[in-house]
Structures are given as structure tokens and as C-alpha cells.
Amino acid sequence: MTSAQTIVLPGDTIAPNALPTSANPNKPLTLGPGLRHIPPQTITTTIAGALSTDSKKNAAWIEYNSGRYTPSTSDLVIATVTNSVSEAYSCTLTPYTPTVTLPHLAFESATRKTRPQLANHALVYARVVSASRDTAPEITCIDPSTGKSEGLGPLKGGMVFPISMGMARRLLSGRKGGVNVLEGLSERLAFEVAVGRNGMLWVDGGNVRTTLAVGRAVQEVDTEALGDKGQSKVVDRVLRGL
């Protein structure tokens, strides 16, 4: 991770020395979101944000925080079921976008008879299987390699809180994301969370008060872009409040 941030705007050309230098020359450079390659050698940005690189993976991408979620393969998402068609559920990831499909059998040990019956507007935690430009994205609630749910599936109860896409990435990227508010809260509170890359955080604390406290703490960390210290303060305040 770069220490000093390079903030780029669309149309900026990335200088070669800003790109990661891989130890292994055979490993091709991977371009993440917000970068495009104009042959032969030029790499330019397409969205505004901070340039991030990972020399281990030999990858570069743009960190950005606003805008609408666009599905990409292997993202974890929280989807809302809109209706059920013959073989699949139609779900939405963000409002006003075309639906994605969730096959009826894409649940752990689901058969025609045992598949979960989801009501309209129910929530599911799922992973994006395919998201190409030209077909409707598909999502699933099982890990195709193990056939197990791996934590995916219908979300019962709880509440969803909208969070920024940057926050969703932070929450999902473990230590690197620098989010410790949930750990802090979990010392005194018991709750479940699910994070969707589509800017949704599902929290179930068993009761309204706990759920709300957790959800709103994360939202505060998000909107105020709080670092470690700030988060500890939030945790203290929330725990004292309960």
C-alpha cells in the first residue's frame, strides 16, 4: 500500500514509476477498477479517486467511494428478492437497476422440493457468480466448490443499513480496511452482521436496540471516515449508552 496518496482524475496518465514493480517479471500487471490500458504502453484513469497498488499481486486500482454499485464476479452482496420466475428468483442489488437472477437451486442442499421459499422483498446474502457486460448477472448462495452455504443464504430478521461502497470494501478487506468498531462492540454485545458490496450492511442483534446501535455506529464511522481512535470513541459511547 502506498503511504502518500496519489489522487487521480479521469484522463490522467499513470506514470510508469507509480505502478507496482513485481519481483516476478512473468506475472502480468493486473488493472483493477478505474484504470484502462490504451495500447501500447499508456495506462489512464477513468474515475476520480486514490491510486492504490499491491506489488505482491502486481495489481493497481483506483479506490473510490461514491457512485452506484456495479456487480462484478465474486462480490458478496445483499440482494432483495422481487419475484419468483420459473427456475429462479429475480433480485435487485440497487434500486432502479435491472434484476439479477438467483437460481432456485443455488442454496445449500436445495432440491426442487427443499429449496427455500422466499417471499417477495426478502433479503438474501449471496455471491456474484457472473457479471458480464452483456448478460444479466447471476448470484448464488452456495460455494460451487464445496456445495456448502459458507454463511450465504436468506437473511432473517435484523435490519439493513445503507453504507458507502468504500465502507463495504473496508469491512470486507479485514485488517487492511482499518475497521475495528465491530470488534470493539462485540466485546459487550452479541450480534451478527453481513456486508454487501452493494452498499448494504445487515445487522441482527436479537433486539431493536442492539441492532440499531451497531448499525448506526458503523454508519457514523463511514460518514465521518473515522480512524482507529475515532472508532474507539464511538464504541465507548455506544456501549455506555446501552
Binding site: 422483498h121 426478502a122 430478521g157 435484523g158 435490519m159 439493513v160 436496540r209 441492532t211 440499531l212
Partner: protein, 292 residues
């Protein structure tokens, strides 16, 4: 067409459960408005209202036209509410939704029909010339409570607006530009404010100023428009859950309290703005003189 976003089962149940336990999502008491902000633009007659995450701008403008033939002694006043896709992609220009129609009707009844503006004072020469006033409402951000926020914006903008001064000699009217003569505030007879009450749990729970999520799960609502003198200008309960008459009467007294607070708030913001302007006005005058 883009479908409107519908709230998930989990959210619906959570919100209702919360209300049963006396908790609102944002921690407000049941009878509290969200934080209200009111800012005025550089020009006269522009009010920018933020009610929580809901944001509307009202802009009042005037032009000189001939009055309606059947209302020779009255000026013209119109409120225009056209939603743009800015607040929600579901809004389509030129195709009013039901919500837009209702907003427009309620503002019409609350402000225009209740005679908040003295339209006779907009007359310049009877039957020949009058001011035609229009209030344009722009919805920028929609997180519920659109009617209440819009009404505040229009009322504040009307109070903030200054129309050009006129001098009438017989059949001739001279309209002075802002530079020539200090423009004149409108003659406003009373200040109607809308308060929307939402009902839940078969009418057993009543919320003031529901946000969008709360609006989506409510069972019915009543919009009460009052002024601080205790006059009800308009009541609109278009169906929904049935409510006891006493509960509705109770709403009017809660509304009166809220209306008094909001009216006072608008007044305070207007005074602050006037003070700010006065300083600016002096400087402007000086610099104008320098320019000459």
C-alpha cells in the same frame, strides 16, 4: 420504466417492531421533526430547506402581466411543483406521479386557497397590469416529508421575496429596477405550515415527520396545515387506516405546537439573513458609488 424501490420485509418488520418499543430508526421522539435547516440565496425569494436528508428549494419570481378578466383587482399567484429525476429516477419529467399531484394540491389548498398571500396587493392597475408571482419548487433530495418541507420552503421564500416598486400615474405604471428603488416585501396575511402525521399499528402509533422508510411502511397519514394563530387551513386524510375523531383532534393541537415552533424558526432565520444583508447592502452601496 424504472420501478420505485420497495422496502424489504426485514426493514418493514424492524421499523414496526421498533415503533412498538418506542424507538425510531434515527432515535427521535415520536412527535419530533428532523433537524430543520433553512438558508436563503443571494437573491431575494430563494429558500433552501433541509429537513433531515430531504432537501427542497423554493424560488419566488415575479413578472408584470395583465390580470385575469374575471379577477381585475387581483394579482396572479401560482405554485409550480414539477419533480425532476434528481431526487429519484422514478420521477419522469412531463409525467406527474400521484405523489406530485397530491403535493401540488395540498400546497395549493394550504397556501393559495387559504389566502396566505394578499393577491390584491399585487394589482398595479386594475384590469390592466398586475404582478404575476410564481413559486417554483425544486425537489433535490427526497427522504420523506416532502409536503412539510415544501410548505416551509414556499412560505419562507414568499417572506424573503421582494417585488420591484411601482409608481402609477393614471394609466401608466413605472416599474423600478432593484437599483432604482428598494424593492418591497410581499403582503402576507398568515403563515400556513403543514405537519404530516403517519399512523402505524392500526392507528395506535402516530409519528410526526416520517422519513422515507417510515413513509413506506405507514398505514395512513393525515396532513394538517395550520398557522400560528390556531387556524386550520387544510386537512387531508385520503383514506388509509381509520382513526378515532379524538386522535385527530389531538393531532391538531400537536400540529399547532409544531407550527408555532417552525414559524418562529423561519422568523429567526429571516432576521439573521436581513442582518447579514444589511452589512452587505452598505458595502454594495459604497462600491456602487465608487464605480460611479
Amino acid at each position: 420504466m424504472p420501478r420505485a424501490a420497495e422496502i424489504s420485509v426485514n426493514e418493514r418488520e424492524f421499523i414496526l417492531q421498533g415503533l412498538k418499543e418506542n424507538i425510531r430508526l434515527d432515535g427521535r421522539p415520536f412527535d419530533a421533526f428532523r433537524s430543520l435547516e433553512l438558508n436563503f440565496g443571494d437573491e431575494h425569494g430563494v429558500a433552501d430547506v433541509q429537513l433531515g436528508k430531504t432537501r427542497v428549494i423554493a424560488r419566488v419570481s415575479a413578472e408584470v402581466t395583465a390580470p385575469f378578466v374575471d379577477r381585475k383587482f387581483d394579482g396572479i399567484f401560482n405554485i409550480s411543483t414539477e419533480f425532476s429525476p434528481m431526487a429519484s429516477p422514478a420521477f419522469e419529467i412531463g409525467r406527474p406521479t400521484e405523489a406530485e399531484n397530491i403535493l401540488s394540491r395540498i400546497l395549493e389548498k394550504a397556501i393559495r386557497r387559504s389566502g396566505a398571500l394578499d393577491t390584491e396587493s399585487l394589482c398595479i392597475i386594475a384590469g390592466l397590469k398586475c404582478f404575476s408571482l410564481r413559486a417554483d419548487l425544486h425537489v433535490l433530495d427526497h427522504d420523506g416529508g416532502l409536503i412539510d418541507a415544501s410548505c416551509i420552503a414556499v412560505i419562507a421564500a414568499l417572506q424573503h421575496f421582494r417585488r420591484p416598486d411601482v409608481a402609477v400615474e393614471g394609466e401608466n405604471a413605472t416599474i423600478f429596477s432593484i437599483r432604482e428603488r428598494e424593492p418591497i416585501p410581499l403582503s402576507i396575511l398568515h403563515h400556513p405550515i403543514c405537519v404530516t402525521f403517519s399512523y402505524y399499528n392500526a392507528g395506535g402509533i402516530m409519528l410526526v415527520d416520517a422519513n422515507l422508510a417510515e413513509e413506506q411502511v405507514r398505514e395512513g397519514e393525515v396532513v394538517i396545515t395550520m398557522n400560528r394563530h390556531g387556524e386550520v387551513c387544510q386537512i387531508a386524510k385520503y383514506g388509509g387506516v381509520s382513526v378515532d375523531a379524538l386522535a385527530l383532534l389531538n393531532c391538531t393541537s400537536v400540529a399547532l405546537e409544531k407550527v408555532k415552533d417552525i414559524t418562529k424558526f423561519i422568523q429567526r432565520r429571516l432576521e439573521e439573513d436581513a442582518k447579514k444583508r444589511d452589512v452587505g447592502g452598505l458595502i454594495a452601496e459604497l462600491s456602487a458609488e465608487n464605480a460611479r
